[in-house]
Symmetry: C2
Subunit: 180 residues, 2 copies
């Protein structure tokens, strides 16, 4: 039986708490938009990756293609997304948000997220970067070990959102300019 330090246990507890809050948030937002949780999360993932193939979505969300197809069909029936065959590879189905779908996500009440963001923004710049570096370090600890996470290159439409900052050990950290 492996020895677990208190520090590690507390880390797991904290991570579980993050998981819980995040799940709770998603459910609340889903409910307020009148979607199921799976549908709402799918919408969010499409938003930041559009246009994206059904298979990529399934991989991103850790679902089987069959499950993804069912969810997408329902979203399409509601007029929130479009599914079109990729012209250059007719096996693929590309998914995008409709105007209505975008509008729905825009309208989703983000008060909670905004408060979180405001709190983060209120931190000193160096501290923001330190938090980010730490989280990315945790990602690295988990990430490199997970076979299914490995092939994932970018998450999110990076070209239009953000640049991945390499996770550094804290002793490599130096002064950082505000990136934007």
């Amino acid at each position: 039986m492996p020895f677990k330090s208190d520090t590690y246990k507390n880390l797991l507890i904290a991570l579980r708490q993050i998981l819980k809050v995040t799940a709770s948030q998603s459910k609340r937002l889903a409910k307020e938009t009148g979607l199921s949780t799976a549908q709402f999360i799918t919408m969010q993932t499409i938003e930041s990756n559009s246009p994206v193939s059904a298979g990529t979505l399934a991989r991103e969300l850790n679902l089987k293609q069959a499950t993804m197809t069912a969810v997408l069909i329902r979203l399409e029936e509601r007029g929130l997304i479009t599914r079109t065959r990729d012209a250059s590879d007719k096996r693929r189905v590309l998914v995008s948000l409709t105007n209505e779908g975008s509008a729905m996500l825009e309208a989703a009440p983000t008060a909670l997220q905004n408060r979180i963001e405001d709190r983060f923004a209120a931190l000193e710049n160096w501290e923001q970067h330190q938090l980010l570096a730490s989280i990315q370090r945790v990602v690295k600890l988990m990430d490199a070990e997970d076979p299914e996470a490995a092939p994932l290159l970018e998450f999110g439409n990076l070209s239009t959102t953000a640049t991945i900052v390499q996770a550094n050990t804290a002793d490599e950290q130096e002064a950082w300019d505000s990136p934007s």
Copy 2:
């Protein structure tokens, strides 16, 4: 529309990655134990809180009581848990793992988690504490804002597992002894 700094965007990306890896892990373990994901996560939560009431479990997992009941019934049918009325409050149903249930969790392949733990253990002591402090700081950012997370007191059976370490701002940090 709120302004999102690159640092914040990257934080969200990293958090989503953690979410993804965690979900992937749970699904894999569930599959290997022959349970559904919901059943497996329920088993884990029972393990660290046993004995625990059905309602507490539901709150912990962000599920409705009715949903929880359904999951618990299936676990009981498989002989993995027991459900007994609380003697001091006969409305409550207390849930515990059976020997078989414990054995199943013990047998769950934890190679991945162990690798993560090993990696964490390989870090310098001060760095472990810094990571923990950072994660707990993120929890605090999210946590205090979420109405449903607020009433949560302890997560996990703290008396037998770990002591909550207060999340500090980095500039309050000092040398830490190895806690165990």
